[in-house]
């Protein structure tokens, strides 16, 4: 779910440029081999096109490095394009049957793209997913076929400011009740809020809410279940009691990270992509625990991260599959995880990873219980997600009660 930080923020600009100028101008070619493709048969190298949205570091150069290596291994030249608004772009390309050979896209978008019939069945092409976390495998599936494989995944956790908690005599909360109490104790008027999260009117808002929603045991198939209402009531209470700022409705995850860094928030819900930013800001005084769950339940959030997919294109797709196999191999998956703060998709690699990167410990421990957003509702997920974030905003801004907001959301999603 790195998108939520880097990609979504750029979306308005990207979408606008795309409509105003020729879409081609938007694409920044970078990395890979820039030598022109030689179509001569036999001796000539095949050129594969690739698209992703890693516009900023560390993902930007980490991906170039791995693509170059895997391309060499498969005997192909890979031409990389970074597209900030990747989802819209690949949908347009699916329309003109010109999808790139390789796509690294946000996992909840995969089923929609697979539904167009434009992707290669990776499972049939020989990409093995045995031994990977089952939730990650599920996130790449559409109608029983494997269209996407993730090199690494992530989810949300609770970051806390160690000294603020020590000063207030509070332990990092594990349950909802502890969270309510801790957040209240840590709040100092309008200067410092106990907890911050990001529930703007976008997928990011749904993604963050889902870590409470899934932890409560709610299902996306029924947005207005008692469990869902209890999760929304928790967030509403945090905001209306002043333990969380009202700004949660307009902040994105990066803004929340900034507020945590400057000491305006004692705790925050955020993902591992914040780690490099905290390090850069010189923030060392923090700990990470799983997102609190109701007493007696296991914490469970929405699974974030990108999956590799291949646009079908005859001969080239065979080579594309080879490259994907290489990109998700144990070695590369581990390197990718280390460079970009993802959790490797293979549990056999995670032990080694955990030892090497101790700050990622909590994320590694909880990844198995994260849920794929599209597993329950399939390509209709965007509809459910939109209904969900609208309900969260309605309840937190005080225009509807949590139960009324979610009842409306269920109606909106299934109409």
């Amino acid at each position: 779910m790195r998108t939520s930080v880097k990609c979504r923020r750029t979306r308005p600009v990207g979408a606008f440029t795309a409509t105003v100028t020729a879409a081609g101008l938007l694409l920044t070619s970078c990395g890979g081999d820039s030598s022109p493709p030689r179509p001569a048969k036999g001796s000539g190298k095949i050129t594969l096109t690739e698209m992703d949205y890693y516009i900023s570091e560390p993902g930007r150069s980490a991906l170039t490095k791995q693509l170059t290596r895997c391309g060499k291994l498969a005997g192909v030249v890979i031409k990389r394009q970074i597209v900030p608004d990747l989802r819209t772009k690949v949908l347009q390309l699916a329309n003109s049957r010109a999808l790139p050979d390789l796509i690294l896209l946000d996992n909840p978008d995969l089923q929609q793209l697979a539904a167009t019939g434009a992707l290669v069945d990776l499972g049939a092409a020989g990409v093995k997913t045995d031994g990977l976390y089952p939730n990650i495998v599920a996130a790449g599936k559409y109608r029983g076929k494997q269209y996407g494989v993730a090199p690494g995944v992530n989810q949300l956790a609770l970051y806390y400011n160690t000294s603020m908690l020590a000063k207030a005599g509070v332990k990092p909360p594990a349950t909802w009740d502890e969270l309510r109490i801790a957040a209240k104790k840590l709040t100092q008027g309008d200067k410092v809020h106990g907890i911050g999260f990001a529930v703007p009117a976008s997928e990011e808002g749904s993604f963050q809410f889902e870590s409470f929603f899934f932890s409560a045991g709610a299902s996306l198939k029924k947005l207005d279940s008692p469990e869902a209402v209890s999760a929304l009531r928790l967030l509403k209470d945090l905001v209306s009691s002043g333990s969380a700022p009202k700004d949660v409705l307009s902040w994105n995850q990066m803004n929340v990270g900034e507020q945590f860094t400057n000491g305006s928030l004692a705790m925050m819900i955020n993902g591992p992509w914040e780690l490099p930013l905290l390090r850069k800001a010189g923030m060392k005084d923090f700990g990470i625990v799983p997102v609190p769950a109701p007493a007696g339940r296991t914490s469970s959030g929405a699974l974030g991260g990108e999956v590799w997919a291949a646009g079908s294109s005859g001969d080239k797709s065979r080579k594309a599959v080879e490259v994907i196999k290489c990109m998700v191999s144990k070695g590369n998956s581990l390197e990718w995880a280390k460079l970009t703060n993802y959790v490797p998709s293979d549990p056999k690699v995670t032990a080694e990873f955990s030892a090497a990167v101790p700050t990622m410990k909590t994320f590694v421990e909880t990844i198995g219980s994260a849920k794929s957003r599209t597993a329950e509702v399939g390509p209709d997920y965007p509809k459910y997600s939109q209904a969900l974030w609208t309900a969260v905003q309605a309840a937190l801004s005080g225009s509807k009660s949590p139960s009324a907001a979610l009842a409306d959301a269920q109606k909106q999603a299934t109409q």
Partner: protein
Amino acid sequence: MVPEVPKNSAAVVGGRRPPPDRSVAPAARNRRLGIGFIVPVVVFVAVFYLYPLARNVVLSFQDYDINSLYSGNAPFIGLGNYRRLLSTPAFATAVVNTVVFVAGSLFFQFTIGLGLAEFFHRSFPLSPLLRSLLLIPWLLPLVVSGTLFRWLLDTSNGVVNQILLTLHLVQDPVPWLNTPHTAMAAVLICNIWIGVPFNMVILHSGMQAIPAELYEAASLDGAGRWQQFRYVTLPQIGPVVGIVVTLGLIYTLKVFDVIWVMTKGGPANATHTITTYAYQLSFGGLSEFGLGAAAGDLLIVVAAVFALLYLRALRADPGARA
């Protein structure tokens, strides 16, 4: 049929003129030249304006979703999209919001712009400098202005709330972007700030064109400052007012960036206008391209109606062209 056209046209053109003394009439050459000048424009308009517009209208009658993108299957469903749209509560909210947003923006942009124009109409030292400073909001990219206001109006850290609290104008921070009513006010404030310079500049240039003798005559007749404004300035800038309001209306109807950057249509659809809602339908994850096109078409119809009304008003009053 095609080869006959040049012959015929040459004959017709030749017939109108005195007997030609050369084989190729200069008129025919002129005509060909004329066509040469027109063709690029016609092609440009057809490719970049007519085709997208027509395609959008066709799209609004189709059930065009994510699968249609690849399969090409998009059955025609008549007015189905329009019917669905009109029965969606979120669209009704967007319509109401659009009316509030457009009316609020136009009213304040125009009155503030008019006040400033009148202010700068009297010349005083440094007035050109001040006037150019006031143009800045208009020069900034909309995304920049939106981002700026998003932080100015932040509930916990915003400068606006800090000032209001320091001056004891409010007890608690105002949750500008985070409750439905204040969020609409917030995007309105930003959009008004952006639109005032445009109104000011056009109205000011309209005032500059009023002959000074009119004011001299009025003051000889004993008209005061207000009466001069009411009976000289206002009637004289009538046509300019028409232009400003019509352009402002069309411009405000299509405002997207400001709202998208500040609130993304939230909280809970409170700031969605038809424009942002149409974008949301097509590109915001739902991929309801037919429905989005229908919403966009309704907006175009509204803008076109007002543009036509304005053109008609111009035609009815030929003096207004001056």
